[in-house]
Subunit: 213 residues, 2 copies
């Protein structure tokens, strides 16, 4: 069985999105700077149809994080940004060939038929909670990993439930001064971590943790 993991970028002051998130700027004020390290990498740009990315240590980090993924879990907000019933005509933000290439299980209270995209990506909508969603993702992933694609609140729910094996926090060298906290309300002693590795680049320092059971 593969691992359950997530990769999230936070600012040095602990935010995974800046203040005032809104429809046209879901990452809030200054939040787009969080992901610069990834967005300029060859690995990210390839999967999004560009050939001009930097082949650097950050690119290796992106490649590693997608190398062994058998299924993704995703919060509903990340899928369409909305609330209430799902819009059957919405196919996601990623075009007809999304950068996932495997089944994506979207956590939502609302029902919708599965959506089949190009390149192996399917979106399936799960209504019965985080544990059944994980079971379905595991079944789809087989021996490969299940990755929680986001948002931060979904990663937190799985972490709090003791269902995460490993995660990576990429610390961007910026201060956002407000916004969505990546790791709020998770302590105190319930979750024990092992600091597994740190990979430093000027654009971000990638800290990997194993959850100790």
């Amino acid at each position: 069985m593969g691992k359950v993991t997530f990769n999230i970028t936070m600012s040095l002051d602990g935010y995974s999105a800046g203040p005032n998130p809104r429809a046209d700027e879901p990452l809030g004020d200054g939040g787009e700077r969080l992901h610069e390290w990834a967005l300029r990498s060859a690995a990210w740009r390839e999967t999004h149809g560009y050939e001009d990315g930097a082949e650097d240590r950050n690119s290796e980090i992106v490649r590693e994080s997608t190398a062994n993924v058998g299924a993704y879990l995703m919060g509903r907000k990340m899928f369409d940004g909305g609330e209430g019933p799902l819009d059957e005509s919405w196919h996601g933000w990623w075009g007809e060939n999304p950068p996932y290439g495997v089944p994506v299980f979207v956590l939502t209270h609302h029902e919708r038929e599965p959506l089949e995209m190009q390149g192996g990506t399917t979106f399936e909508f799960v209504n019965d909670g985080i544990e059944p969603a994980l079971e379905r993702a595991r079944a789809a992933a087989g021996e490969r990993d299940v990755v929680i694609a986001g948002g931060a609140d979904v990663a937190q729910q799985y972490l709090r439930a003791g269902l995460v094996d490993e995660f990576q926090v990429s610390v961007a060298p910026i201060l956002l001064g407000g916004g969505v906290r990546l790791l709020d309300g998770l302590g105190n002693d319930e979750i024990a971590l092992e600091a597994d590795r740190a990979v430093h680049t000027p654009e971000a320092t990638h800290l990997r943790y194993r959850v100790v059971r």
Copy 2:
């Protein structure tokens, strides 16, 4: 002229002290785990009169942080934990030979005569704000560095005022779930950072940042 720096340990969720700080546990619930990486090091234990410390990478980090220090700045709470007029009989928490060995400038609204300890440590009480305190510390330090010894609020004040050159955040692999945030209210764009270095150990990952002017 030396640099102005500080070194602070925070939990992965961004706290430099746990919830419920109190007189007999100023670091709050679980907060003592923050500093385990330092407290077991040979470098720290030597300066506190013990000979049984670990001579490891964390010890080198402690040594480096004290190697070129000409003066310290310190918040009043760190000096005596109190408020209101200063108790003239209080000589600090550190015994008669404190681990500083250079002048320490204590920021307080209250007056007190300088206090001369053994081993080169003096405590001088500065009443006219963070900038005059820094000027006095710089004059005492000469070519050497001025280090902000703490607490987090004092480090924040200097950072916000643009007076810090470099700082190191040691990230302990723990979640505290509440407490005092190390870097609260500092964003958004006013403080630009350069991620200078990361030193990883299982006990803490030491991230060094240069403030860009």
